[in-house]
């Protein structure tokens, strides 16, 4: 061995004991890859699992993929006539960045400047994971698992907060629904979430008030004395924590006191901005094939041809009239579109407004938003029990039992549309997602404008508990918990991408309506060992992006962050043929 080489090796080896110091220097010079402290995670969970097949469940990624159109899986009206039931559905596609997105993506969405932009612009930084089997049924359990996929263990946001020590622990924006939400599953080894209830008038004021109130009291001498006392105990680990809290408190107080007027003003403006976007997305829209023509509601008396189920059993009242149902009510509006003139999504504007300022001013590392569905849709309505049904040969007659059973009510669309018809659901869910798209687009735009680094380090996770399976007849859809979609938006997503496998057509007898069409049911993924993707795969991927521990270390990632870019770790999406061996024997844990 040459002496020079040997001495070089020996010299290098002598540095080994000092590697700890070297690592710290490396980190302090910003050369370290450890950037989890700057990562932001925003979980937008639309509770009650509305259908997504018209929005971001990509049922046919390309024309080469198999697709069977389901009669109760529409994206728009092929035709609408002037009478009730005189309509035909269709499922349409629109190409976006090489993928076949659903029909609505060809249209524009409102923007904050009062104009519009193509919805397809939202897809630029969109990474869609479809075909995830949630295994267990149920809203609450799946809501919780979105945040904490392993029962009893720490949650994604909780682990992220433990890594980042934010000023405010995960902002839990509960929304109208305070029970069984993702936010409630928050669990962290070291931080607590910050709960902001829907009943709170002004979210930012609630958040900042303690600091503002504190600042309003002139207590220099008191604070000085407390600081002095804490400094005298600075050597113990508790003393260190308290002193560190003092520093953080002063820093936060300075930032907030300097900027709280700006932050508050911006928040208040944002609320108006997002409310305007929501209103324009839902109210008085003129979307071709959906709301460009009058959509007649039910009108009595009504005559329909007698129908039977496949089993031979005669249709009941609800089976005939189901398309116009909103739970217990039937929509009798002369034009169903008018329902949306008063529709609202409660709390969403405040939630998005707070999310925007919190991220821009680095008030938190994670946000959990629970989004409610459309409410206050004022319309003429009656209950099913007020309709009489009589048979006369092949004709079935429906009429109101009396004249005073018609009411003008503000209906709430039940996103968990077991008892909502396809017509009401198509309109409500499409307009709802349009509003979500518009708000999300604005949030992403604001983050981009605020800072490229912030946008690149943020991960917006737009999701629901699961997709929906249409029913066999038109009186409601059901939990498609064997098919879940998670949509991610981030500056780290450099191009539109869709991953995950689904069945073109499932014949699993344990499905609600086997053979009902392509709806998004999870199929095996070769890269995962020929088994279905489960939520643990998604949560491991999220944790990888955030640079924190994953709640389910044994579940492989399906995407990862590499050199600042989110890359898929599984094969390109497939629509698979359902085989006998794929029978859902039961569910795996």
């Amino acid at each position: 061995m040459k002496r020079r080489y040997f001495l070089a090796m020996a010299g290098a080896s002598l540095l080994y004991p000092f590697r700890g110091i070297l690592e710290n220097t490396y980190r302090s010079l910003g050369l370290s890859n450890d950037q989890s402290s700057s990562k932001k995670y925003i979980l937008i969970n639309v509770i009650e699992a509305p259908a997504r097949w018209m929005f971001d469940t990509i049922l046919k990624p390309t024309n080469a993929h198999g697709f069977v159109q389901g009669k109760l899986i529409p994206t728009h009206f092929k035709k609408t006539g002037s009478a009730p039931f005189d309509f035909e559905y269709d499922y349409g596609f629109h190409e976006v960045n090489g993928y076949q997105f659903p029909y609505m993506w060809q249209f524009d969405i409102p923007t904050a400047d009062g104009k519009t932009t193509p919805l397809s612009n939202l897809a630029e930084n969109m990474f869609i994971v479809r075909g995830c089997d949630m295994v267990l049924d149920g809203h609450e359990i799946n809501n919780r698992r979105l945040e904490a996929p392993s029962i009893g263990s720490h949650s994604i946001s909780g682990l992220h907060d433990a890594n980042t020590s934010p000023l405010f622990g995960c902002l839990s924006l509960e929304g109208a629904r305070e029970a069984g939400t993702a936010a409630q599953a928050y669990s962290s080894p070291s931080t607590n979430r910050t709960i902001i209830k829907d009943s709170t008038e002004n979210y930012i004021e609630y958040l900042l008030r303690p600091f503002i109130e504190r600042a309003s009291v002139n207590s220099t001498i008191v604070d000085k004395a407390i600081s002095e006392a804490l400094t005298s105990n600075k050597d113990s680990h508790i003393g260190k924590k308290l002193n560190s809290n003092e520093q953080s408190k002063k820093r936060a107080a300075n930032i907030i006191n300097q900027h709280h007027q700006v932050i508050t003003r911006e928040y208040n403006d944002n609320v108006k901005k997002y409310q305007d976007l929501i209103n324009r997305s839902i109210q008085r829209t003129n979307i071709l094939g959906l709301t460009d023509k009058r959509v007649p509601g039910l009108k009595f008396p009504l005559e329909l041809k007698k129908k039977f189920h496949q089993s031979g059993k005669a249709f009941e009242k609800v089976d005939y009239l189901g398309a116009y149902k909103e739970i217990d009510y039937l929509v009798l509006a002369d034009d169903v579109r008018t329902m949306f003139d008063t529709a609202e999504i409660k709390g969403l504007a405040k939630q998005m407004a707070l999310a925007e300022v919190s991220l821009k001013y680095d008030l938190t590392s994670s946000i959990n938003i629970n989004v409610d569905c459309l409410r206050n849709m004022k319309t003429k309505t009656t209950k099913l029990e007020h309709i009489s049904m009589t048979h006369e040969g092949d004709v079935v007659h429906f009429k109101l039992k009396s004249s005073d059973v018609v009411e003008n009510l503000g209906l709430r669309h039940n996103a968990d549309s077991h008892k909502c018809g396809s017509l009401t659901s198509l309109l409500c869910d499409t307009l709802f997602w349009r509003a979500m798209a518009s708000c999300t687009y604005e949030l992403t735009r604001s983050l981009k404008v605020a800072s490229t680094e912030l946008w690149n380090n943020s991960l917006i996770h737009l999701t629901t508990e699961f997709e929906r399976e249409p029913g066999d007849i038109d009186k409601g859809s059901h939990h498609g918990f064997t098919g879940h979609t998670s949509t991610f938006l981030s500056g780290a997503v450099k191009k539109t991408e869709v991953i995950g496998n689904i069945y073109t057509l499932s014949h699993d007898p344990t499905d609600v309506s086997p053979g009902c069409g392509t709806w998004g049911k999870a199929a095996d993924v070769k890269s995962l060992g020929n088994r279905k993707m489960v939520y643990g795969n998604i949560s491991s991927s999220i944790s990888n992006f955030l640079g924190c521990e994953t709640p389910l270390p044994h579940e492989k990632k399906v995407f990862k962050l590499k050199n600042g870019k989110i890359t898929s770790l599984i094969e390109a999406p497939e629509n698979k043929e359902f085989m006998e061996k794929n029978l859902k024997t039961e569910k795996a844990v």
Partner: protein, 189 residues
């Protein structure tokens, strides 16, 4: 030789071994904070304390015992029997941790509570009366030591705060009580 050096790297380790424990700050829970402040400053501050302390188990720790509570209506009422045991956010709060770390927000909330309570001189008088003092009592080491006893059970802390208060020439009993109330240390066991 290179192999020997590499072998050295692989088999020796300057680390001290992995840790199988975690030390959290053993803080007192919301019930202790609530009861202490109520005792020191008087029952008339109940609504302030409920609003700032009891209502925030995520900040102060301590779950709820909903079966203790007898509710008259679905709207929360201070006169409900054992109202302090109510689950303030939702029913799953019953599983909340018994104690949580001392966070910045907790400290800020405590400070604001103290500020709000001590705006009212009645509360100052109430506190001082517990240690046989009044607003006109001189703020000297002996008197201050008695007031520290309202918050601190550790002698070292009582002495530290007494000395600091006197050395800083704090002139009013309000400020003395503010120093003690606002300090996070009395909430740490």
């Amino acid at each position: 030789m290179t192999y020997a050096i590499l072998l050295f790297f692989s088999i020796t380790d300057f680390s001290m071994g992995k840790s199988l424990f975690k030390s959290s700050t053993r803080t007192a829970d919301k019930f202790y904070v609530y009861r202490t402040l109520e005792k020191v400053f008087g029952e008339s501050n109940k609504s302030i304390l409920v609003k700032n302390i009891l209502n925030s188990p995520e900040l102060f720790g301590g779950g709820c015992l909903p079966y203790n509570v007898s509710m008259k209506s679905e709207k929360f009422d201070l006169s409900d029997e054992n109202f302090e045991d109510r689950c303030f956010n939702n029913i799953t709060e019953i599983g909340s941790p018994a104690f949580v770390e001392m966070s910045v927000i907790r400290q800020v909330k405590t400070e604001n509570t103290c500020n709000e309570i001590l705006k009212d001189t009645k509360n100052i008088r109430h506190a001082l009366a517990l240690v046989s003092l009044s607003e006109s009592s001189p703020i000297d080491l002996k008197s201050v030591k008695r007031t520290t006893n309202l918050f601190f059970y550790k002698k070292k802390q009582r002495e530290t705060y007494s000395k600091i208060i006197v050395n800083n020439q704090i002139k009013t009993w309000r400020d003395v009580l503010l120093v003690l109330c606002k300090s996070p240390e009395w909430q740490i066991l």
